[in-house]
Amino acid sequence: MQNKLHFRILIFITEVFMIEVRQLTHIYKSGKGIFDVSFSVKKGEVFGFLGPNAAGKTTTIRNLMGFVNPTNGSASIKGLDCRRHAAELQSIIGYLPGEMTFFENMSGMEFLEFLGKMRNLKDLSRRGALIERFDLDPAGGIKKMSKGMKQKVGIVAAFMHDPEVYILDEPTSGLDPFMQNVFMDLVREEKKRGKTILMSSHIFEEVQRGCDRAGIIREGRMAAIEDIKALNEMKHNVYIVELENAAEADKLLKSGLDTEKIKENLVMVHVISDFETFFKTLSVLNVTGLDVRRQSLEDIFMNYYGKEAKQ
């Protein structure tokens, strides 16, 4: 009876968490690497893995793909250890590497055909649809392809076998803004179809637009894991108000709003939701200019975690 219960709990856990990284540590000979990284990604979730270059994103992904032996901790997908069950897991994983190195002597199409055969892929309709969607000309030799074109070949290769889990290492690098949109649309569609997606990026906006949750990695350590929605709610609206003279500016500074003096007649105002008070205050002052300072999630993150990291 108890065994049965345990089994059910196990099934429950593996169904909820598709990807689980537990206290994963991987140290290279240079001493760099990742340290004690833990996070999990639920089924049907898009998880953004954010961090500057050389922060440990690719190292984490190498562990998820089972390419390397972790120094400590573990990574699992669908409850299976990523290193021990690497080959088994590949039938449900779609992987886009961070660097595009293919078989040099093949054309784009030959490469896709080769991978299709390696995967024993029978239904090629998805491959054709993806080629069309990304406006890819796969006939040319891979050696002579531009970075963007290579990236498209990689995307088709990662998505063509309709996997359950996507592991995408900087998927939009090399794509022009239009193609980046096409790609993010594809990610959203896959999410709707219940697919689990982990994508790394060093571009904040991309994660903000496309992900449900984001993990921030810095110098090999997980700095934060946050809901994108919660982050958006933390977003301030920042205005730069230009006033006629210093006396007017003083009035604004003493108005009770969240203000900050920039110059004699320039005041920065943070508004979270009370726009009424903000505008009422402004209406009785001699305002000569108003500027909106865009605050990205990156600023918010830096506000919250940047200070911590510096300490």
């Binding site: 290279y28 992987y95 002597n105 080769f114």
Partner: protein, 266 residues
């Protein structure tokens, strides 16, 4: 075995295989053509004009009066020991190490095949093509000998010599494959893959050059293809071959295991 990978490997290596085959064939044809039973003495005289140790190092000792000895001395002293390496070394490097070095290994490992299966497929490929290269050369050699000097080649002895040579190349291909599985970067792999057979060959030249350096024959695998040793008894030659084949199996098994267990920073 993974058929698609075998085919892709063939595609990558067919040009190299053909080139190496033609080079071996060309030298083989020239050397067989040099055989002249009537003028064997004149030939010996000519060889004696050269510094003796140098010629001996390359296996050119004396002109033989029978075709089999001629072929054995001239072909298996240098040409057949070195030229097949033109294929074996680069192909062995390409099997695993090249994919790891340039990063294309990620795509092989992103397919639902175990590393063991991938490495085993590459093993089968390298051994098959090495066999094709040598068997093709041997077949052409027999055909050429029969058409120019009909009935003069002792085919049994010739095949025995080639069987031992094949065993030696299996072992060398195994060494190349092993370093291909062991190291990450092209420099190290090629350094070892060229360096080890080259050292074997230098040792062979040393022990062939003079009696006082004879102990070098225990340090080189090439001493096993010495025609004197091979022709001294069929049983002995077959035993050597069996040992070489067993060593091959062990080396490849070790290579596959190393590749399966290691961390691949790709």
């Amino acid at each position: 075995m993974i058929k698609a990978l075998f085919k892709a490997s063939f595609r990558t290596n067919r040009g190299l295989l053909l080139t190496s085959f033609l080079i071996v064939l060309m030298y083989q044809t020239i050397i067989i053509n040099m055989f002249d039973p009537e003028n064997a003495e004149a030939m010996t005289g000519m060889i004696q004009l050269m510094p003796e140790a140098v010629m001996a190092a390359f296996g050119f000792k004396a002109a033989a009066t029978d075709l089999t000895t001629h072929v054995a001395n001239f072909l298996y002293g240098f040409v057949f020991l070195v030229f097949p390496l033109i294929y074996v070394i680069p192909a062995g490097f390409r099997m695993i190490g090249k994919h790891v070095d340039c990063g294309s290994m990620v795509y092989l490992l992103a397919t639902p095949h175990t590393r063991k299966r991938i490495a085993l497929t590459q093993t089968i490929f390298l051994l098959t093509t090495t066999t094709i290269l040598l068997a093709g050369a041997v077949l052409m050699g027999i055909l050429f000998c029969e058409s120019v000097f009909p009935g003069m080649l002792r085919i049994g002895d010739y095949l025995l010599l080639n069987l031992v040579t094949l065993g030696v190349f299996y072992v060398i291909s195994g060494i190349v494959f092993f370093v291909s599985c062991l190291f990450n970067d092209a420099g190290r792999i090629l350094g070892a893959a060229i360096g080890i057979p080259a050292t074997f060959f230098v040792f062979k030249m040393l022990y062939s050059a003079g009696e006082e350096l004879a102990f070098f024959k225990y340090l080189t695998i090439y001493s096993l293809t010495d025609p004197k040793l091979v022709f001294s008894g069929t049983g002995k030659a077959l035993l050597i071959t069996a040992i070489l084949f067993a060593a091959t199996a062990l080396i490849y098994a070790a290579a596959i295991r190393v590749f399966d267990k290691r961390s691949l920073v790709i």
